[in-house]
């Protein structure tokens, strides 16, 4: 067994990179992820980590260097957030298109404007089509464990895709929690050195990142799509192996008190713990609620979502992000996943906690109210609701 430490979420991701014996860390500081390169720098300065730390002049160059290093055969990790992830965005698609298993910790933070440094999923949600696998942590333990597993999943030759692990700004990145830090020996047994399929090699020269005409482009994309679905199985295998080795169970979607629930909250990230506490509180009042946490967002867990939907009368889907002109991205994907089901629960969407606004029990009361009304009526009505919106700030309308 590992060692119990009380650490911040950012530290958990940095220690994961250290335990994974990452070869190269290209990084650029940004709130709330800065502690990641700081911690790696400290490891390097103290001779505790054998890594090439490449402090670039921008996030764009950090991801570009990650691509170069990964293609050269290195295990690569980085961390960023918000605007930094946006600046990397171009390169995210290229990393996945080149099938490079880079792992990034994302301190999920709101996007400008207005500029805001607090918890929000808009940054990584906007990259859901980038071809990166996406995992979301509820706790600092999740952040550490998911980082370790992300390398193993990403580097599997059936997959060879990059992965990001999201942890909520400040709620996790800067909050101390008790974390089991695995021993190096245990991690070495779980995660052997990266064995790339193809690398830049002067003894076996190859061309990486070539020009794909219409005669070949769709097949490149198809193979990438296929690898993402293969990752669905690889994730299950790695989760199972991790549980066997470290005793902590991970699921793509974890359910809590859903068996007899009329209303199921669907959450991601740190809100999931609050949701379980709210469920216990609401159950005391005789309201049949349950909750489900989505840990794996890409590849999308279709089967889990279908199973979940078959049990509920209302799915109350939380989104800490909004697609302007539509609704929440999790809501959109769950709706899409259920479209061909003969029987579907009422699907409601709750936009909540944007820009780090606290998510409290009273928000759950508001969500239950809306859900109960829809349940009584037997229809959703307009499904998208903004929770705890300060209408007093919205102006008079002239």
């Amino acid at each position: 067994m590992g060692e119990k430490q009380v650490v911040k979420g950012n530290f958990a991701t940095a220690v994961a990179a250290k335990l994974a014996r990452v070869d190269v860390v290209p990084a650029y500081p940004i709130t709330p992820s800065t502690l990641f390169p700081e911690q790696i720098s400290e490891y390097v300065a103290n001779g505790e980590m054998d890594v090439e730390l490449l402090l670039t002049e921008s996030e764009h160059s950090a991801m570009s260097a990650a691509i170069g290093a990964s293609a050269a055969g290195a295990r690569v990790a980085t961390a960023t957030a918000s605007q930094g992830l946006k600046l990397m965005s171009e390169m995210l698609f290229i990393a996945s298109g080149m099938r490079l298993p880079i792992v990034a910790a994302i301190g999920n933070r709101a996007l400008s404007a207005p500029i805001n440094i607090w918890a929000d999923h808009s940054d990584s949600m906007a990259e859901r089509d980038s071809g990166w696998m996406q995992f979301y942590a509820e706790t600092n333990q999740d952040a550490l464990d998911l980082m370790l597993m992300a390398f193993k999943i990403a580097e599997d030759h059936r997959v060879l895709l990059p992965a990001m692990v999201g942890l909520d700004a400040f709620v996790l990145t800067h909050t101390m929690e008790g974390v089991d830090v695995p021993l190096q020996k245990e991690v070495d047994e779980f995660l052997p050195p990266y064995k790339p399929k193809y690398t830049l090699d002067v003894n076996n020269p190859m061309t990486f990142g070539s020009f794909g005409t219409p005669a070949h482009y769709p097949e490149f994309r198809y193979q990438q799509w296929d690898a993402m679905w293969k990752a669905t199985d690889v994730i299950d295998e790695v989760f199972a192996e991790f549980e066997k080795k470290f005793g902590r169970k991970y699921e793509k979607v974890s359910e809590y008190m859903t068996d007899d629930a009329d209303i199921i909250f669907v959450t991601m990230g740190s809100t999931s713990g609050t949701a379980r506490a709210a469920v216990r509180r609401l159950r005391e009042r005789g309201i049949k609620v349950g909750t489900a946490k989505v840990t794996v967002f890409r590849p999308f867990p279709f089967e889990h979502i279908k199973r979940l939907a078959s049990r509920a009368k209302v799915l109350a889907i939380f989104d800490r992000a909004v697609s302007q002109g539509y609704g929440g991205p999790l809501f959109a994907d769950i709706s899409g996943a259920l479209i061909n089901e003969k029987e579907r629960p009422i699907l409601l969407n709750f936009i909540i906690g944007l820009g780090g606004r606290d998510i409290t029990f009273s928000d759950f009361d508001e969500i239950v109210d809306v859900s109960m009304k829809a349940l009584e009526k037997g229809e959703a009505g307009w499904p998208i609701h903004w929770v705890n919106l300060r209408t007093d700030l919205l102006g008079g309308g002239d």
């Binding site: 190269v24 670039t56 002049e57 764009h60 160059s61 691509i67 170069g68 061309t207 990142g209």
Partner: protein
């Protein structure tokens, strides 16, 4: 074609492409223990249409503005993996990917001190997208976004002195070169590769398609740029910019710039404006005096 070619024939470069010649010479000097990180541009497009490749060395392209950053990643990864010894890491980019959009990544690479040779192939406009003006485009050149019109006579503004700016980063070796002077170019590649730290070569690469001259005149245009003093061949060993040394001077008396303009469609409109030509001549004379060419 000789068997030691690392940049092979059959690619889709235009007839008379000055860059293709330059790439071939650079790789002949660098040899097979070389990795190239290439920016998006003519060079990438014309050499790597899947499933073909013109490269017999490991080669990587990611995007337009980041050849320096990708090369930096390869550099540190090779170091960490114990594969760095006796391997040259080169970054190749066009003028757009260097003077403009890739400038920040280049500056970062130089500041971090990577042992990388960055080569810019300068054809003085965005040729791959169809001849748009760039900060490398010389004054008054007509491009599709700086057309010579009735009111405005081509590109307004100056050509960014990229090699001088790079040299100001206090790096190991900086040089300018062009294909009409192959021995000079090859020497500079060797010096760049053996330099301890970042090195940079600005290769002036005439483009018959974008400059509008007959494709058999590439070497002449390249030579004329030097003989008129429009392009100065120099090198700098070490970081003191006062030590810039001119490596090749015009053999005879410097030729008038008009001879250079006359060959190229992009400057055709200038021939009706002797006042502008005189002004440019004056500026070139001043520059040549500074480099002590005459």
């Amino acid at each position: 074609m000789a068997s030691d070619e690392l940049f092979v024939s059959g690619h889709r470069g235009c007839a008379g492409c000055g860059m293709a010649d330059a790439v071939r010479m650079v790789l002949q000097e660098a040899g097979p223990n070389t990795v190239v990180a290439n920016a998006t541009g003519c060079l990438e497009v014309m050499t790597t249409a899947y499933p073909e490749t013109a490269w017999k060395i490991p080669w990587i392209h990611a995007a337009f503005e980041n050849a320096a950053a990708v090369a930096s990643g390869v550099d540190v990864a090779f170091k960490k993996l114990g594969k760095r010894e006796n391997v040259n890491i080169l970054a190749f980019a066009g003028d757009g990917g260097t003077f403009d959009i890739g400038f920040q990544a280049l500056s970062g690479m130089l500041e971090r001190g990577h042992n990388i040779t960055y080569v810019v192939f300068d054809n003085e406009a965005y040729m791959n997208t169809g001849i748009q003006r760039c900060s490398s485009t010389p004054p008054y050149a007509s491009t599709t976004t700086s057309p010579a019109g009735k009111v405005i006579l081509g590109k307004q503004g100056r050509k960014k002195p990229i090699a001088n700016i790079v040299a100001a980063h206090d790096i190991a070796y900086t040089a300018t070169a062009t294909i009409a002077y192959p021995r000079d170019l090859r020497n500079k590649v060797q010096k760049a590769l053996s330099a301890d730290g970042p090195s940079f070569i600005h290769i002036f690469s005439p483009c018959p398609t974008g400059w509008r001259y007959p494709s058999n005149m590439t070497v002449e245009v390249s030579r004329l740029a030097v003989e008129t003093g429009i392009f100065v061949l120099w090198e700098l060993e070490g970081g003191d910019i006062h030590n810039i040394k001119v490596t090749c001077k015009p053999k005879e008396k410097r030729k008038p710039v008009e001879e250079y303009f006359r060959l190229q469609g992009r400057f055709k409109h200038l021939l009706k404006h002797p006042d502008i030509i005189a002004q440019i001549q004056k500026e070139v004379d001043e520059k040549c005096a500074k480099y002590e060419i005459d």
